[in-house]
């Protein structure tokens, strides 16, 4: 049985996706035909490929080609210098860690240390050696 009434949303959707063909009513009914035409226009506008001019595409190819021959860009240089910088930083940290050890080294040589300790001892001895036997007479 052929539907004599206007198409509903379900018929239009099925037609739009190619699941249903136009029937007698749709072909002859001006209102349903108008709706079919409108839906067809909408689908065409959505699915149509964007218009790209040949000039635009040519310019794009030229730009790509010219960039292929340019030297490495900044990010490429960064890629090269990043490990070098990391190495330098690690070396600096190593040196910094070694510095306290260097600071802990004696300030003076063993020879100087011995000499000044001896001088210090001499300066601190309050009595001449010669009087020590006599001085001991007064000690308890």
């Amino acid at each position: 049985m052929k539907p004599q009434s206007h198409w509903g949303e379900q018929e239009f959707t099925r037609w739009l996706f190619g699941l249903q063909e136009e029937d007698e009513h749709a072909r002859t009914c001006p209102e349903c035909q108008a709706e079919l035409t409108r839906l067809q226009a909408v689908r065409k506008s959505i699915t149509a490929e964007p218009e790209v001019s040949p000039e635009f595409l040519a310019a794009q190819r030229r730009a790509i080609h010219s960039r292929l021959h340019q030297p490495a860009r900044h990010w490429m240089r960064t890629r090269i210098w990043a490990p070098v910088s990391a190495g330098v930083v690690l070396a600096a940290i190593g040196v910094a860690l070694m510095l306290p050890k260097a600071a802990q080294q004696p300030l003076v040589s063993d020879s100087d240390q011995k000499f000044f300790t001896e001088i210090s001892s001499m300066e601190q001895s309050s009595e001449p050696r010669a009087i020590q036997p006599i001085h001991s007479m007064f000690e308890e």
């Binding site: 600071a103 802990q104 240390q113 000499f115 001088i119 210090s120 300066e123 010669a130 009087i131």
Partner: protein
């Protein structure tokens, strides 16, 4: 002879009181680690010690010689009071020169330190607690 002994005994009793507080080689003690001397300060300390060392070596020789001289005069028989006096004067002069030179060197080393380091050094001076 009595006068010589008296002078020496007085010397032993009064000289330490006149000296600045006991000199000690702080730069070769562990205390120096706590002062956090900069590389420039360490350099200046080394230079100062190097500068004074030859003169201090001469003074050490002079003090040792004078000590020996006094001992010889004490052991002499008979004693020559004039020679004893001379030996004592030499010893006093040598010790005074030692004190003078060490004090001058210490003053120069003091100028290398900051006020804060100087205070820290005084706090850590050996025997500081006993003197308080």
């Amino acid at each position: 002879m009595r006068r010589a002994v008296l002078v020496l005994l007085l010397l032993t009793g009064t000289l330490p009181a006149q000296l600045p507080r006991r000199f000690y080689a702080w730069w070769s003690s562990p205390v120096v680690q706590d002062l956090n001397l900069t590389a420039e300060q360490q350099k200046k300390v080394r230079e100062t010690l190097k500068e004074y060392r030859p003169h201090l070596q001469d003074i050490r020789t002079a003090v040792d010689g004078a000590e020996q001289d006094v001992e010889e005069q004490f052991n002499a028989d008979p004693m020559d009071p004039q020679r004893v006096d001379k030996a004592i004067e030499r010893l006093i002069a040598a010790r005074a020169e030692l004190t003078r030179t060490l004090t001058q060197m210490s003053l120069k080393l003091r100028t290398v330190l900051t006020q804060q380091q100087w205070q820290e050094l005084q706090k850590r001076r050996p025997g500081q607690e006993k003197e308080k």
